[in-house]
Amino acid sequence: MRILKADNITMKFGGLVAVSQFYMELNKGEIVGLIGPNGAGKTTAFNMITGVYKPAEGRIFFQDEDKEVDITEYRPDEITKLGIARTFQNIRLFKELSVLDNVLIANHLRLKSDVFSSILRLPNYVKEEKEMYEKSIHLLEDVGLQDVMHEKSSSLPYGKQRRLEIARALATNPKVLLLDEPAAGMNPKESLELMDFVGDIRDRFQLTIFMIEHHMQVVMGICERIFVLDHGVTIAHGTPSEIQNNEKVIEAYLGVD
């Protein structure tokens, strides 16, 4: 079943066409990869899907329960509320706040009590806050960060910061998770651990995952389908083995004489 569809979205910065006519469909439960050389427009595609940029052309659709919603004009926070969460290429944690607070903040979007019941600690707020705490602590246990929950998030080692960023995205209760280079800066061992982790959370949280990744071992190992972008144009789409043997892809990555 289709859950997310980008229908020929195009992004222009001045005269530069960063992404041109990007067409993509995600089916429920898939792990799909997006690869391409530096500057190919991968993150721009992500930013369009998550509402940071408004596409110049094309529409984006999200399958919300049983109706399809056009999310092209939605703000990033509205898109997150619908169920598309993301992580960032350069980790963007709330640095000065604790690990637990980082995850708690991601629960804020579901808070129903208003600000005055929060200040007066009315029963409806207290109940919600308790649930948020329990849920966050449970999530941190799930991803193996319970021991560092009261540490400042910026004091964590790099690999754990990546993991926390994913945990924080999971706390928003997403249906689709977009990972922007989750293995960037990791050594081969950490990358493989991450690969297992991503597969694991997909099953446990019933997610659909769309990830940008440069680490070919990770991409080929985990993704069921792969899109390849080069200079904003989709040059290939297929299973990992198809992509590995695609001439255009090899050309884009290695050049041709």
Binding site: F94, D101, V115, R121, M132
Partner: protein, 350 residues
């Protein structure tokens, strides 16, 4: 909250109220005025800290909100006879001429009108960021001042208002201060406060986590404006005289100074530094007078205290770059296990 903390807070509160009683008996009117100013500056400092420190919005419009608050409360509390005496150039607008409210509703109204201004200004201006926001809010505050100088029949223009009833006493100023402290503590500890901090830390990430940036920024700005209005109203009814020139942007910087010195993003820090700055500004007044050391006499130079005060500030900021408290808060655990019994003010900040 752990058991026992509540008792400690109540004891601290009771001690503090006892202390206020003691001050009231022993202090002369000059010292009482300074004590009142301390309370008012706590309110003002905290309201600016909510906007600048916790939400990360660089706003410099505080004097404007204070002016709105001070004038609202002033016009509502002055007796009709006093208004007639004040408005000799041009009669006051009819709907205000006969109004005379008790202090409490006038104070609330000052906050509400100021919050309304905050909401109206915030809606367009909060699309801006950083320095641009600072300039825009500074501009707003100056516009308010200029408008107040020119609306003769509403604010009595440059002549200002004289003979405001002196309602503000330590119970009002410190009562409002304690209320503000509690409000901020509960706000910041709650989910909304965390969302505000998230916006300060990283706007893009906060938005990606489903936080409606605009709604939360406007909320913080409006609340800040509300308390600034209350602070302005208390100040007006303490001094008894207000005029538009009181609310120049220097006033905003005085409050900003309190916030920066205390630690941007620390309630405890703001409370401590509001008291320290207010007292120091007065205590250093001796420097303006002729000082006789016995062997040498220094002629009084007006303004000398500001030189020394600025020097002291620079020294403090050199040694505590994050302000006195950074983003830390006072806790009882810290009080008992920490570095002995430092002379921490017994504020009920948890």
């Amino acid at each position: 909250m752990k058991k026992g903390r509540l008792e400690l807070n109540i004891i601290a509160m009771a001690l503090f109220i006892g202390l206020l009683f003691l001050f009231r008996i022993t202090f002369d009117s000059y010292k009482m005025k300074i004590l009142n100013l301390c309370g008012i500056y706590i309110i003002l400092g905290l309201s600016l800290n909510l906007i600048n420190g916790f939400t990360g919005l660089f706003s410099l419009g505080h004097a404007g909100f204070m002016a709105v608050g001070a004038y609202t409360a002033g016009l509502l509390t002055m007796s009709p006879a006093m208004k007639e005496m004040n408005f000799f150039m041009k009669p006051i607008v009819p709907f205000l001429a006969e109004v005379e409210w008790p202090f409490f509703p006038a104070l609330l109204m000052a906050g509400v009108i100021s919050a309304l201004m905050g909401f109206l200004i915030g809606s367009p201006v909060l699309k801006l960021k950083d320095d641009y926001l600072a300039i825009a809010t500074l501009g707003f505050s100056e516009i308010i001042r200029v408008i107040f100088t020119n609306t003769q029949s509403l604010t009595n223009g440059a002549l200002g208002l004289k003979g405001l009833p002196i309602y503000t006493n330590i119970w009002w100023s410190w009562g409002a201060a304690i209320f503000t402290i509690l409000f901020m503590v509960f706000l910041i500890k709650g989910s909304y406060g965390k969302a505000l901090k998230a916006i300060r830390e990283d706007e893009i990430a906060a938005e990606a986590m489903g936080i409606n940036l605009f709604k939360h920024k406007v909320m913080s700005f409006t609340m800040g404006a509300f308390f600034a209005g209350i602070g302005g109203a208390l100040l007006g009814n303490l001094l008894g005289t207000i005029d538009p020139n009181m609310f120049r942007f220097v006033l905003t910087f005085n409050i900003l100074l309190i916030v920066v010195l205390g630690g941007i993003g620390s309630i405890t820090g703001t409370v401590i530094s509001a008291v320290v700055v207010t007292v120091a500004m007065e205590a250093l007044r001796v420097l303006d007078e002729t000082i006789n050391f016995g062997f040498v006499t220094i002629q009084g130079i007006p303004g000398m205290r500001m030189v020394i005060f600025s020097l002291l500030l620079m020294i403090v900021i050199l040694f505590y770059q994050q302000g006195l408290m950074g983003t830390k808060e006072f806790t009882w655990d810290w009080f008992f296990n920490g570095k002995g019994f430092r002379k921490t003010l017994k504020k009920e900040v948890k």
